[in-house]
Structure formats: structure tokens, C-alpha cells
Amino acid sequence: MLEISLSHRLPALDLDVDFTAPEGVTALFGPSGAGKTTVVNAVAGLLRPDRGRIVVNGEVLLDTEAGICLPPHKRRIGYVFQDARLFPHLSVKSNLLYGQRFNSSKTAPEFDRIIEMLGLGALLDRRPAALSGGEKSRVALGRAILSNPRMLLMDEPLAALDAARKAEILPYIERLRDEVKLPILYVSHAPAEVARLATSIALIETGRLRGFGPAREILSDPTLAPALGQREAGAVISGRVQEQEDDGLTRIETAGGPVLLPYPAGQPGQSLRLRIHAGDVTLAVGRPEGLSALNILPVTVAELRPAGPPSVYARLKMGDEHLLARLTTRSVEALGLTEGMVCHAIIKAMSVASEDVG
């Protein structure tokens, strides 16, 4: 549990946020300059806010009213910087073990396990200058974890990497979330990363909290969709791989029924997240016939929210999960869509990108 309440005035920003993050990955999401890095720097102790209170798992790190402000080295908060910040004069191994020099407790994370998990075994004797961008990110991640922190801060750890390297690192962060179970505060302005990793989302705009809640709810909230960006808005649903079919399609069981994807998405039985862009969802009032799209899911219109002409965001309920669809006002009127109406959501298999599945 991480309680954050901050107010801080910078020349270009007036920050005032207040939220309590539960277990798992909490994504601080918002455009550049919204104040996300200011928040994590305050948690790390690298910035002293004008007013605020920060409590991690019951331990007060900052309370300006009570005059408490622990220095960074006493906070035990691992920080993975965007620019890695490896120590250039130390080997990868010495970088990884740097935090343990100052760690008095006996409960240090197991070195071998973290090295294996992050695939660092072959890099230990190298210097940071001889590492690729993706390798540097992994070493930075390992260094932060091995300092035995109570939580991790990650400030756009993937922003400097290309798509291939991102795809290389994401599974490691997922394993961190699922296996090490460290609370993580994850700064990003990339919705794909957030959809893939976040348990909760804090949506920040110009220093204010626009929305906070479980990732599924925030991503399928039609009122917040414009803030995510028209091209990027889209809900996340969970699924389980059923089988790999002979024609190359993968069948995935979801709350709304089976969904077919045009590429291998994992072993049968594996759980994964599917991010469905709001612009890729088509609605039909009756069950459509003679359509090329493979995925037709029965849904209920839970909420219709105009997002300025000519578009409307619709939250669609299927089982206990939601889809988000972006429609024109004209289609909503032509179909006579109202809240509570039962209809069909159509998702073209080919429109779901592989980076949105994992």
C-alpha cells in the first residue's frame, strides 16, 4: 500500500495529487509535463514537495506537517530511471551488487534468482559501455531489485528503447509484478505499456488527478477515453488461450465468448490481456450475417458518453468485463442505441496487434 498526497508548485506546473495505490503495478499515466516524474521523485526523496505525506506499507517517508522527510538513502525505494544511470566505472556485477553494500538486513533478494529471471548471467563481467540499450535497462532493473527495496519506481523505463527491445523487457517486468510481488509505481505515457502492465491507473493531467482506479475500469471509462488519446483509447479484457487452430488462428476464451487472433498468442491454458482499441469495435443491433469479421460478441450498452461531435464513446458490458467502442453520433442515432440495449460487438481478428496481447 502506497499513500501519496502531494502538493508542489514548479515554475511550469502546479501539482496537487492524492491517491492510495493498492498492491501490484500502479501506472502514473498522462502526457509529458503532467507531473508524473515529479510525483515519483517526491516518493524517492529526490525532490522535497511544498506539502505532502507519503506512506509506504505503514511507514511514513514524508510528512511535511510533522516535519518528517527521510533522505533518499534511508527510504529503501528502488528507482529504475529512464536513462538507466549505470555506474560507468563498475562492472555489471558490481553495479548489481551496489545496493547490497548499504543493506544491513539479511533478507536480500536472492542474487542468482534475479540474475536468472532477468537473463543477466552472460553480462556480469562487462562494463555498462559495452551493453545494448535493452541490456542496460535490464541491469538497471536488477540493480534496483537487488537493493532490497520496499517498492519500485519506474520512470518510463522503456521510453528510450525501440519496439523490439520493449517487447524484450516487458515480460521481465510482468514476471516482477507476478513473482517478486513488489509494489511498483510505473510512469508512462504509452497506453500499450500501461494496458499490459498496470493493476491500477492514476491518470494525471497538468498536475491534477483526472482518474484513479483499477486498470480495467479506467481504460473502459468513456469519460476518460479522450484523455487517453483518440487513437489510443481502448479497454483491456482478460482471456485464456484455448487452442491453436489448424489455419493459424488462436482461440482465446474471454468473458464475452471466444475470440480468434491471427497469430500464436501463447500455450493453451495461459492467461493473457487483450487490449481492444475503441476504434476497432463495430456495433450491430442484430446478429450480423455474411460478415468477414470473425469475432462477434454479445454485449450490453452500459454507458454512452458524447465526446464532442461527431463522436460518442460507448462502454459495453460483457460478463463482468467491459469493452470500449468509439462510434459516430450519426450511427448511434441511426441504430437508436440507448443504455441497457443488447447488441453485438464486432472485432476484426486482424485488427488486434500482437503488441496488444500479452
Binding site: 524517492a44 526523496g45 529526490l46 533522505p71 533518499p72 538513502h73 527510504r75 529503501r76 525505494i77 528502488g78 528507482y79 530511471f81 536513462d83 544511470r85 555506474f87 560507468p88 566505472h89 562492472s91 551496489y98 545496493g99 553494500r101 548499504f102 543493506n103 562487462r126 562494463r127 559501455a129 559495452a130 540493480r143 534496483a144 537493493s147
Partner: protein, 231 residues
Amino acid sequence: MSWLSPSDWQAVVLSLKVAGWATLLSLPPGLFVAYALARWRFPGRSLVNGLVHLPLILPPVVTGYLLLIGFAPNGIIGAALARIGITVAFSWRGAALAAGIMAFPLMVRAIRLAIEAVDPKLEQAASTLGASRIASFATITLPLILPGILAGSITAFAKAMGEFGATITFVSNIPGQTQTLPLAIYSQLQVPGREAEAARLVVISVTLALGALLVSEWLARRIAARIAGQS
């Protein structure tokens, strides 16, 4: 070395001793002042910066005279030192002090440049890993600025070896006590017919200076290579 007279030897040994102590004693305060100027924003920073550079811009005679006033047995600092049994005026210690003060700005400049080249974000990263300020300085910044410290020390040493004006003003020109190489050369030149002796001392000066430079270049390359991880 038979071509060196005992008095020549005396001057060489004294010069090395004076310059060595001058460098050694100005290193810790030089490191501190350089760090403060590079990393801290504090009121009076420009004033400190100006004071540090003062010996560089003042005529050396003036620096020597100010030292004389301060450190003479009846001067403010001199009297205090005399009470604990240390005399500075007209001794090799005074020569080391004068040389150290003249070399101080060069030392600070070199180290400050090196510190400014180290990304302060690395120290931040160290602090999030549990290192206190002192620990992150000792484990991150200090190893990274070693070439700068070395360069500063060598320049300071060379400056101290060559220091003339402040030394002769402050501690005079006493053979065996305060007569360093430059002062010895100057003394020889005052006496008609001693050009050969002066030339010998000049050759020694040039050799020592060049030798120090070569050694420092070699050391700096080795340290830089070690930091970059190529050795």
C-alpha cells in the same frame, strides 16, 4: 651525480620537498572547494570563487607580502602557530605554504572541471540504492574524477616547483632553508661568471618538469582506461 654540486642537490631536494608538501596539503581543501563550487549553490559562492582565484591574478609579490603579514611571528596566524611550536616564516614550511597557495587555484580548477563532467544523476541513483552522500561521493564521484585529481595535482606540483615571487617575498632566499630551484637560478644569475651553474640548474628544472608531465600523462591514460573498463 658528480656534475651536481652539493648546493645544487640541496636546491633540488628542497624544491621537491616544498612542492610535494604544497601539493599534498592543498589537495584535501582543493577537493572540498572544487566540489562545493561544482555542486552546491550557496550564498557567497562567487566570493569563494573569487578568493580561490585571487593568487592567480594578484602579483605574486602581493600574495607573498600578505602571507608575511599574516604568518610572521607577530602576525595573527603566525603568533597562534608559534604558540604550538610551529614557525612558518623564513623556513621551508613557509615556502611550501606559499607554493601551495599559489598552486591552489590551478588544483581547484582541474578538479572542478572533472566533477562537473560527472553526471549528478549518478549520485542520485546511488542515493536511491542506499548510499549516503559521503558513500556516494566515495564510491561513485571520487573514482570517476581520479584523472582530474591527478591532473590538478601535477599542475599544482609543477606550479609549486616554479613558484618564485611569493616565496622570495614571504620566506626570503636562504640556501638550504628556502632556496628552491628558481631561487637558486636567480641567485646564480646575480653573480657575474656563474652562467654555467645557472644553465645546469635550468636543465634540471626542464628535466623535472618534463618528467612530471610524462608520468602524469601515462597515469591519466591508465586511469581513464580502467574507468572505461578496457584494462
